[in-house]
Symmetry: C2
Subunit: 344 residues, 2 copies
């Protein structure tokens, strides 16, 4: 498959995914309508006054990975739609709770659920969406997926949920922690980003009829894609073009975010101490040039890109293991590569 | 089975349940140990400094219902242990989040998780425990339960989770709501209390090999038991003996809690307005006598007890439908009746 086919694939399957999500969130009981309306607001289907609206949705990366993996191993993506919906709901549940935990008032240019309806209702809305993700997963069995396969898919799903909460635990712990090692950071993103990407692809492949070896190799491919995605995010957070990212130059430096490049520089034997001093004083935009010069000296960008390249190669090798020569031409790889080459 | 057998049953199975819970929460990775330690703290196994301790545990009502139902239909409770553990974890996850949502600083005479480790970590600890509840449920398939039966049990479990978040949504909505009808209150406790009691018994019966008709009737019995339990709680919240409950006389009146008796009095055609005035002014302990006299005049206690009796009868009839004559002698009924006759 080439990229034009990828857009055909998305164009065909994403509306079906939206219909699946819509059906999962439908509720006929007026007494609890507001509980589900808050979920619909978060997904961009309603505005703050709960009037129908069509805000830009997320990129649906995880469902697409799931459906593509299913197709790639010769399965029918229609059977994987409930899992694709479950993965999107799981991701969105985690965003609702993350926004509370991080105190973020805005997401996708709109007030977050807790900002509009308060923290107590928002926690519960997240719990409700988490539950609906399981409702969705369990629908696999109604689409002709064997009970044993559905249970295996549920195992992969629940492992990803567990990794997600472990990753979030580490992320919050690191914020209060003066010293975070690069290896600890990698462990955190494996939980917070990579596990769900891996599960998305593994579940799609499983439902599509892949062998256990293929499922395992594609799981590994997906985890690498997740790591690549996060490291690319970290690189863009410092060196991204503000015109494309919509964020300030060196945004992560100004926010003193513990991203991979920043942790590398903090631990650098030559410039570490000086970099730490500059960062501790919360650099002003006009000091950015000297901070960036330090990163240049420490070859921080080259380090981050080497990590990214390493994950990319692990991923490619796993993909070849799963799909053979076909892997290089797969829409899965085209989609993953598209994410890697994004500029925002 | 008679009551002495019930205590034999608990004495035999509760330690096995604790072992199952313990295994589910075990984790060998030091990086995320604290995530699981906070769960162990909540369950009473560790103190605030994360040192081993043995605080009084919860009553394990839901796991016992599950194991008893399994035994009652002729099944082996060992097979239902993962589900029993899942139900306890689900209940405890909901307590962790409820404590944040309600701002409660104490639970079982100890500071709540959010009070010790802060709200962001506590939300995530709850999410982690919710996930472990599913890990537990999925273990049914490893204990010889057929894949199709495990999926049916998961369906019952997820339906209960959904009802739980709907009930919690209503509970929070009612707090900010001047007018709550008795029927709305009953809908709330069906979600918040009855659904999980119903699922506990239905899942135990399903795993134990009950017919679909038995599962359905026992589900109904469990929901009634949950309602009876909550209404009894509401009655004790006003008329309970302070020496037994450990709470002040008329505790719910002083806290202006929207419980069943209070809603009945608020809607009473004769005393409603006067009662509302007294309650709105936040009654002092010395005004309690006149508030209680109003409730007497409105026959509020008799109303609540009639509701309780009604639920009790629905439950008994469902139990007879499920178990026939054997129902009247069942340990399930003995356990449910014990909960009904509790004084605290």
């Amino acid at each position: 498959m080439v990229y034009t086919e990828l857009s055909t694939f998305s164009g065909y399957w994403l509306p079906k995914l939206e219909a699946e999500l819509c059906a999962l969130l439908s509720n006929d009981e007026p007494a609890v309508a507001c509980h589900y309306d808050m979920m619909r607001y978060h997904l961009g289907w309603l505005d703050e006054q709960l009037r129908p609206h069509d805000f830009p949705a997320g990129k649906r990366v995880r469902p697409l990975f799931c459906l593509l993996a299913c197709a790639e191993v010769g399965g029918d993506p229609a059977q994987a739609l409930p899992a694709a919906a479950a993965l999107e709901l799981l991701h969105n549940f985690s965003l609702i709770h993350d926004d509370i935990e991080d105190g973020d008032a805005m997401r996708r240019h709109r007030p977050t659920v807790w900002k509009v309806w308060g923290m107590p209702q928002a926690i519960n809305v997240g719990d409700g969406m988490f539950t609906l993700a399981y409702t969705a997963m369990q629908r696999l069995a109604c689409r002709g997926v064997a009970a044993e396969t559905t249970l295996m898919a549920l195992d992969l799903f629940t492992q990803a949920c567990q990794a997600l909460t472990e990753g979030q635990h580490l992320d919050m712990k690191f914020e209060a922690c003066p010293e975070v090692k690069v290896a600890e950071y990698m462990r955190m993103i494996e939980g917070k980003t990579a596990a769900l990407a891996g599960a998305s692809i593994a579940i799609g492949a499983l439902v599509g009829g892949a062998t256990p070896q293929q499922v395992s190799a594609l799981h590994c491919f997906g985890r690498s894609v997740g790591c690549v995605f996060q490291i690319q995010d970290d690189i863009l957070g410092i060196w991204g073009d503000p015109k494309v990212t919509g964020k300030a130059v060196g945004n992560d430096l100004l926010r003193r975010k513990k991203s991979l490049p920043i942790l590398h520089a903090l631990h650098h034997p030559q410039i570490g101490a000086q970099f730490a001093d500059l960062l501790a004083a919360a650099p002003e935009p006009e000091q950015l040039t000297s901070v960036l010069a330090l990163l240049e000296q420490a070859e921080t960008r080259a380090f981050a890109e080497a990590q990214l390249q390493r994950q990319h190669e692990i991923g490619l090798s796993a993909l070849t293991e799963a799909l053979g020569e076909q892997g290089a031409d797969s829409a899965l790889l085209a989609f993953a590569t598209g994410l890697l080459h994004r500029q925002a």
